[in-house]
Symmetry: D2
Subunit: 224 residues, 4 copies
């Protein structure tokens, strides 16, 4: 995918599940077409196929279970996502953390199916560890900033700056995303200056009164 | 739903995910229409909306996460399933067991949305415990019979017989299903004689060489 | 054990781990000897053998893993607790909830070793479900009262009263304990009047400035 | 600790819990004194304090929960182990795998208490990831060799050899242990030649008919 990227994690908010997932995705698609900026949407497992049918921007899953196809009830394997053309997977989100061996399994399995992964991390050391597993993207979410009002690029700019440097030392192909503490175009702009190649957002878009305005504001910070 | 019922759990087998989930569901629908027997299909979260769009028989989820809508990444709440008209939920399958407080939450939440639940249990005592939570269906899966060649109705008929009696004493509205050790119409017939109101199967149908023949054979045991 | 009982869950507070676990236990033993009221202490796995060596009041574990002895690293089976004479086990505490099949396994395994279990529940329906599994004690902890300032016997007396009735209908041998919202002798007295046969406390004793005074106050409510 | 090291994971086998944990530990201590080779014992949480009281060789826990002291029932924090002088902790064993953020937490917490950690890994990539978190020891347990009859140093010598090289590139202070597929002194000798600084064993010692002979045989391979 062309960088920078704006990744919208729908989580499972009342505002983003069911048919509303399609609506938000269509708005994201429209802004992406207008501005040329890559926008990725990540709806729930249940909504994901309908979203994929309705938009042409990349669609990622919020998670995948670290299993091969088989006798697993209630689980979603990567093959099942690939069947419907899903483009990639968010792995190890702070709300769905995984064992290290599972993260390794998922990154390799996704790569074998030509699907990209965004692996989430919570600090610089964990970011370095994950970099050794070579996901396409790493999204840093310092826990103290998740869901809060503080901007990562202002309050803790060194987390992004150092993570970008550390990851570059380990594997130049990995792109670092800023995964928390981004509220507006100013934050986005600053995150880009610090070396991040995009951002991962959720409530800032999903719970916005005006979805399109919220997406456009973030994209503006990417120098569209 | 009219009893008896045949519930087909697709799990996440290679043979039952993606577009193949729709194909199996259409076959199940056809047999149901031909015979008048209620057949429920339970595809993965990813396939479930496409299956629902393509058939008119009841479609159940294999699981739901015990949460309200909100900031949960990678999870599926009941509201999200209701959005697409999903009819019910399998809860506490032996491959995805839950805490007792979570089972209680899910049964109540499903009922409030007019969705039915099939709660799985592993022995008579657990069956009695779950009966106190009043799900619409309880499917008994003695662990020693899961995936094996032994028939529950022949090897351990007392498990079904006693469970049916015990559940009746606690709550007459709950229907007991036989959830393991059912391979053919003879097994089904015997399970019905022992008091069960239907069966829950998986690989017997999903991995059958001839899906339609496998379904027809099971339905035959229901006195169609 | 002679009722009523006061069960002190040490959790893993800084104030109750290591040698302090022995000190608190000795104070509890002294009060028990002075008053004749049964007091149970529940220290961490690490502290439990040293506590058992130092006091003669009943010592319970805060949890046990639902496994037989075998190739399990980092786990504690019931046999291992029995080896050192531990008297019983708290099961399914709100901070360590278990699958229903695991609760059933643990209650049966403990009974086969002549160890008693206190199974925790979060509401009346779950209490009824657990009553079918026949633990010696059920401790009700309504989640909205845990760790708070509200007294269960004043704010929600019907939870205790109805639970006691419901449990009695299912199994007369089970004793109901009040597991949250008990702060002082008045609360204890009220809980007893409502039919509970004891209480389960933690921070109220462990974090008290004067441990002995805190224990004596609670015991006073038991009509010592 | 002086290398090489022999680490004996007691797991929770019938043969190694309760007072038998003390007996095995005393045998290990005797062999260590006779040969000068460092031997570490890792009993269950329940047995660990009694073992520590009875031997002067290093005693490690098989696990620790990634929490600070507080309101956690049934959990064991590092502070609680430190209280009794426990020397170190096995982390992320294949039978008790952890989230990556939890491994990071535990390594840092243990270091702050002057306790060493042995972090287990399942392949070379995960080994590299864990090396970035700087535990004192990494024990490699390729899943296909655990509990089997195949020797890692013969069947897959490159796993050890490459892991040692990779870890050295990332952090020269980390010592690599061979954690599976070691049955006798020949295997141990070969593992040392391939660069490992010790081994982690379990059933080979715990379930041996003659514990002392089994330990002496392994130690012999370390060039005692």
């Amino acid at each position: 995918m062309k960088i920078p990227v704006l990744v919208i994690n729908f989580k499972s908010y009342m505002e983003s599940i069911g048919k509303r997932a399609i609506e938000i995705s269509k708005i994201a698609e429209k802004v992406s077409e207008d501005t040329g900026i890559t926008i990725v949407v990540a709806p729930t497992f249940v909504d994901i196929v309908k979203v994929k049918e309705n938009v042409s921007i990349p669609v990622f899953a919020q998670h995948a279970d670290p299993i091969n196809p088989g006798a697993f009830t209630g689980r979603v394997n990567i093959e099942n996502l690939k069947d419907w053309g899903i483009d990639g997977i968010i792995i190890n989100h702070s709300e769905y953390q995984l064992k290290i061996s599972e993260i390794d399994f998922l990154i390799k399995m996704a790569r074998s199916k030509n699907m990209e992964t965004i692996t989430c991390t919570n600090n610089i050391d964990v970011t370095k560890a994950i970099a050794e597993l070579a996901p396409e993207y790493i999204a840093i979410e310092p826990p103290e900033l998740i869901g809060g009002e503080i901007s990562v690029s202002r309050a803790r700019p060194e987390v992004i700056e150092n993570s970008v440097k550390m990851v570059e030392n380990i594997n130049k192909n990995i792109r670092v995303l800023c995964g928390a503490g981004v509220k507006n175009s100013e934050d986005v702009k600053r995150a880009m200056e610090l070396g991040s190649k995009g951002i991962l957002v959720a409530s800032g878009v999903v719970k916005a009164k005006n979805t399109e305005a919220a997406i456009r504001d973030l994209v503006k910070g990417m120098g569209e």
